[in-house]
Symmetry: C2
């Protein structure tokens, strides 16, 4: 079906090219770019949906999106159970708008009631950590961080209550720690992970303030993506 | 058990560090470095084995090594069969001393008698291609190529007859084509593959001279490793 995708103009070129590739040959489809520091994505989406009579699919604040993203934890628990029957004690999940972590928390805690789910935000954009502390959704300016998938300004009205109820706490990782984690994945696991996707692992590897001592525990980490330009990736690895 | 590993002094630092890591705490274990352009690895290995009363494990010219490396094709065929029952028409395998391709050819052609197995060497070191043409094992100087795992000077006396009998042909890939393939794997498949490991894919993606038209066929490619220093990898991707 035709799709109009609203994307920050500084999104990774690989993401933009791949999105246009998926839309190719579909009349009425396009990518609309905006400036994430000065423009309001949600307003642009609402306006376009109304003007063109299209259905708005938000990136995180929707029950189906949360449930869909939660299948990451579903798959993780299924596979780990199969592997050695040991289950998981803790789960670390990156946090932008909260779709992934809210879905993952519901899935993981349903399957493994004793599991502790922790969220990880970029140090520069810890709006959800602050929101938990204040008991309300805190709005921040678009943070400056290499974790472009977590440059959100606030949690969702649907995701935040789930986080409040199920998530044990939110910790943060710095950009330097994200780069260290990217190097670790390249060198030891041979996989390309984008900065945002490294948030959980970076918090674990750097023993982030706020996390309990996880030594000896079985810790699951969600790696949420590899959308990073190859040249940018090379710069980050080599820098 | 104690192990002495003979390794080129310009091997990827990551490979050297990992090898020493596996040997840690094992008395009598060490890595012995040599110059691959001026010294004879096989002579060094033989001498050390004799002096220290150790068993010589060659990198490719041994039936067990060939059989072990052939399990790569065994796993590939098993997994592809499970995925969609279609099997494979062709298999592309990188060639250094011929251990991997001889084992893979035996395994793949036993399971899928109609499969055609092709070998891929670095353009700068096509000794096996020349050996097949001349009907005898050709020796060359250590080739200069980024595919450090395929900087071999000749096929083995055990591997070459298997290659002669089972492999359809040998084609080559240039260093520039290897870098293109590395970028492809990083960008589209999110995996880190070392230059040598990209030989098969590079030949396929560049439609190497000597290969038939593979369009529409089901082609398997063995990716044989990810031992590349992160900084070197970043240079190759970014260059």
């Amino acid at each position: 079906m035709p799709s109009v995708i609203v994307m920050p103009q500084d999104a990774p070129a690989a993401k933009l090219t791949a999105t246009r590739g998926y839309q190719a040959g579909q009349p009425g489809s396009e990518v609309v770019l905006y400036d994430r520091y000065t423009e309001d994505r949600e307003a642009i989406g609402r306006r376009l949906a109304q003007e063109r009579g299209m259905t708005l699919v938000p990136p995180y604040d929707h029950p189906d999106v949360m449930a869909g993203q939660g299948t990451a934890a579903l798959e993780l628990v299924d596979q780990v159970r199969e592997l050695d029957g040991g289950g998981l004690n803790d789960l670390l999940v990156c946090v932008g708008g909260g779709g992934l972590i809210s879905g993952c928390a519901v899935a993981a805690m349903h399957l493994l009631p004793g599991i502790e789910v922790w969220g990880v935000e970029p140090e520069a954009g810890n709006d959800t950590q602050r929101s938990l502390a204040e008991g309300r959704i805190v709005h921040i300016d678009t943070p400056r961080t290499i974790a472009d998938g977590a440059q959100t300004q606030h949690s969702g009205t649907l995701t935040f209550p789930v986080i409040q109820q199920l998530v044990r706490g939110i910790v943060t990782a710095s950009d330097a720690q994200l780069v260290e984690a990217m190097r670790f994945f390249a060198e030891r696991m041979k996989i390309v992970v984008e900065p945002t996707g490294c948030l959980g692992a970076a918090a674990l590897l750097s023993n982030a303030a706020g996390l309990p001592d996880l030594r000896g525990r079985r810790v699951g980490v969600i790696l949420s993506g590899g959308n990073v330009d190859v040249r940018r990736y090379a710069e980050l690895l080599g820098g």
